[in-house]
Subunit: 148 residues, 2 copies
């Protein structure tokens, strides 16, 4: 199977992975979630070749995760903005960050403050029904007959 074919599978993990599961893609999105929008910033911060960066941005725009917007007319200049669909990937970023904070960095490099409640926020994945944190061992998965 080729990576592109993940998008054709009846699996929400695989189809999401077909959008973001390439080297560097999540690093581009990390910059976007920090408020960065410019090609030159992505390029210099990540230190990746333009062919790789162009490909990742192309996919993210095609998938409507980012929107390419002209912000200046002469000369024409464009920037990349997270769409609402892209902002919905924030829990992916948070879950990656949480794992890294727990297992990779004794002192977390970023502290998050939840402005809505005003407190330092350790994000966690919870059950929308009971509100408790969920763990793998407590979940049962029921598959549609044609799920991949």
């Amino acid at each position: 199977m080729k990576h592109d074919e993940l998008d054709g599978l009846y699996c929400s993990v695989a189809r999401t992975w077909s959008v973001i599961g390439e080297r560097w893609t999540m690093m581009v999105l990390r910059e976007c979630f920090r408020g960065e929008r410019r090609y030159d910033h992505f390029r210099s911060k990540l230190g990746v070749g333009s062919n790789v960066l162009n490909d990742r941005l192309r996919v993210l725009v095609a998938e409507e995760v980012l929107e390419r917007v002209r912000y200046q007319d002469s000369p024409p200049r464009f920037e990349y903005r997270l769409t609402a669909k892209g902002a919905d990937l924030y829990p992916v970023l948070l879950s990656l960050m949480s794992w890294g904070d727990k297992h990779k960095n004794p002192v977390p490099p970023v502290r998050l403050v939840h402005r809505r409640c005003g407190h330092a926020a350790q994000p966690r994945m919870t059950c929308a029904h009971c509100g408790e944190a969920v763990s793998w061992r407590e979940m049962t998965a029921e598959f549609e007959p044609d799920a991949w």
Copy 2:
């Protein structure tokens, strides 16, 4: 920058991405979270070459996400089991699944039941302080001086 160098950055997203942010890695982990442990299963289900699969398993074992365990002596056979550290990646899987359910699959291929409360569970990322679902717009990030 090379992908390997992500692990050296003071960023929990980058360091986690250095472990799982390669083509196929999350697909291997998806199978593990479904209870699969065998090399032959990974190989046939994912349809990837043995060089790719070997590399991904090698990294996951080196990072102590998976444990390679001998389950038969003659001939010797091994399987791959999620460690506690690996099971901590479950929120990453859930966040990928949730995004795919919302944006890619009108009919979600998997229903999750939270055995602890007995209900169908839509997992969501919440603030551990106030318990509300978090969104990007409501969070402020404060960086350590030497954060990447």
